[in-house]
């Protein structure tokens, strides 16, 4: 079965759909958690600490978090590898472009591909910035509130983050609907509802994430 799935374009799309949905679920939780920043440093930092203690005493400190991280890494890798292989295949399947080209045709495909690359790079930066602090100018372990505020006090921090979140919105907008089609849950009757759901979710996620840098910029969060 694994071979059937991985060996087929339809199967690889399924891998993308499932891994995409896992990441989407994570993002919803992540976004909601982020909003706690508007309730002050104490609450936010406490929440961040709690994330490491989920499942205690059954789970050891940070075990749950690592479990989530492993699943996420697997999802990202599966998503990216499938996307890369499928894209390679797609490009090979159309070796010669039309002389009279029509930009509309590839709009969704292109936004997905470039959006995906942008998001991949963003995740790297994001981890190095706020998880490991490697590229952070003033990283204080255990004090995420302060770290976030510091990042969004720089112009490039805001630009990178907001651009990435816009890309995320576009990615989800096509990706969620697309995943539904890939998993075979779309239908003519459900199509409008699915598209609307994808749009609303994309909008809410983007708005929710961007609220944080905007909050810092406007001084609501400081």
């Amino acid at each position: 079965m694994v071979r059937t799935i991985w060996g087929s374009t339809v199967g690889k799309k399924t891998v993308m759909a499932v891994s995409g949905l896992i990441m989407l679920l994570y993002l919803v939780v992540h976004m909601l958690g982020n909003l706690k920043i508007f309730f002050g440093a104490g609450e936010f930092n406490h929440y961040a600490h709690w994330l490491r203690t989920i499942g205690e005493p059954f789970m050891h400190y940070e075990w749950t978090l690592w479990l989530v991280r492993v699943v996420l890494v697997l999802a990202v890798v599966a998503h990216a590898v499938s996307a890369y292989q499928l894209s390679r295949r797609d490009i090979k399947a159309r070796p010669q472009k039309y002389v009279h080209s029509k930009p509309r045709a590839s709009y969704a495909t292109r936004t997905m591909r470039w959006g995906g690359v942008i998001l991949g790079l963003f995740i790297l930066w994001h981890l190095l910035d706020l998880t490991t602090g490697t590229v952070h100018t003033d990283f204080q372990p255990g004090r995420p509130y302060q770290n976030v505020v510091a990042t969004f006090s720089t112009w490039y921090g805001n630009v990178i983050y907001i651009v990435a979140m816009l890309a995320l919105g576009l990615h989800i907008r096509h990706g969620l609907w697309s995943a539904a089609q890939t998993l075979g849950v779309g239908s003519r009757a459900r199509d409008r509802a699915l598209k609307a759901a994808a749009n609303v979710l994309a909008l809410l996620l983007t708005a929710g994430f961007i609220a944080v840098p905007v909050g810092v910029m406007t001084g609501v969060v400081s």
Binding site: T4, S8, T9, R94, K102, A180, Q181, G184
Partner: protein, 249 residues
């Protein structure tokens, strides 16, 4: 009408191709697009040039032979086959670009003619119901709900022209493949081969070098017979179902 045509010319499969420019005059708006090309070809023959090769046959929109990308759109600006496109869709003095279907799985044979035998091989992989002549039960032995029969028909309308592949930025044959799978899988007669059909046809489709689906919907927009994009969704569903069932066996 007077028109400037820029046409893809390619001597044979191995030769390099390029766009060539021709002028045609005295074109009537009532002509079909292919009749306009007939006029060009008559002109070329008399001037000792090689006429433009293009596939065509029934010229009434059903055989699926005609296959031109006109101004970047498969079958041109109207949602119909090239043979049913009329020159009234263009303006006097227009420049029209005419190219063959472009896809790795549809290599150019000559000029605007491409090799679509990959489609035949997809059908050969499972696009049928095994019913040897003489073995059929009485036609009314198995009633088919009207909705299912209509659904089957809607997908069976595919003419195999390949516009879906030509329009798809990934050169994917999902819509073609899904149309046949949906046609046969919804019918009770098609049920015994339901799983093998979808698995084998999708595998053959991949084997032929078609791209994957990114759900841009270009295929359904270009389809002269209006095969809906949900056809692909349902094929995916059938494929996942078949994969699960195969794993259980």
């Amino acid at each position: 009408m007077k028109l400037t045509l820029r046409v893809w010319r390619q001597k044979n499969a191995d030769a390099e191709g390029a766009m060539a420019t021709y002028e045609v005059d005295g074109i009537s708006p009532d002509m079909s697009f292919l009749e306009m090309l007939d006029v060009l070809n008559e002109q070329l023959i008399l001037s000792g040039e090689d006429p433009v090769a293009f596939d065509h046959d029934c010229r009434e929109g059903i055989c699926g032979a005609c296959s031109l990308v006109i101004n970047g759109e498969a079958h041109g600006p109207e949602r119909t086959t090239t043979c049913q496109l009329h020159m009234r869709s263009f303006k006097d003095g227009d420049t029209i670009d005419i190219e063959p279907w472009r896809a790795a799985a549809f290599p150019v044979v000559k000029d605007l003619v491409v090799d679509r035998s990959a489609f035949d091989r997809i059908i050969q992989a499972g696009g049928y119901i095994t019913a040897p002549t003489g073995s059929a039960p009485e036609a009314h032995a198995t009633p088919v709900p009207k909705a299912d029969a209509d659904y089957a028909f809607e997908h069976a309308e595919c003419i195999g022209c390949g516009a879906c592949v030509a329009a798809c930025p990934n050169g994917a044959a999902m819509l073609f493949t899904s149309a046949k799978i949906n046609h046969l899988n919804v019918l009770p007669q098609g049920a015994p081969e339901r799983e093998t059909r979808v698995l084998n046809m999708v595998a053959q489709m991949d084997e032929e070098g078609f791209g994957g689906c990114t759900l841009t919907g270009e295929c359904a927009t270009a389809c002269p017979k209006g095969i809906p994009l949900t056809s692909i969704t349902n094929m995916n569903k059938e494929w996942l179902r078949a994969t699960r069932k195969a794993a259980k066996r």
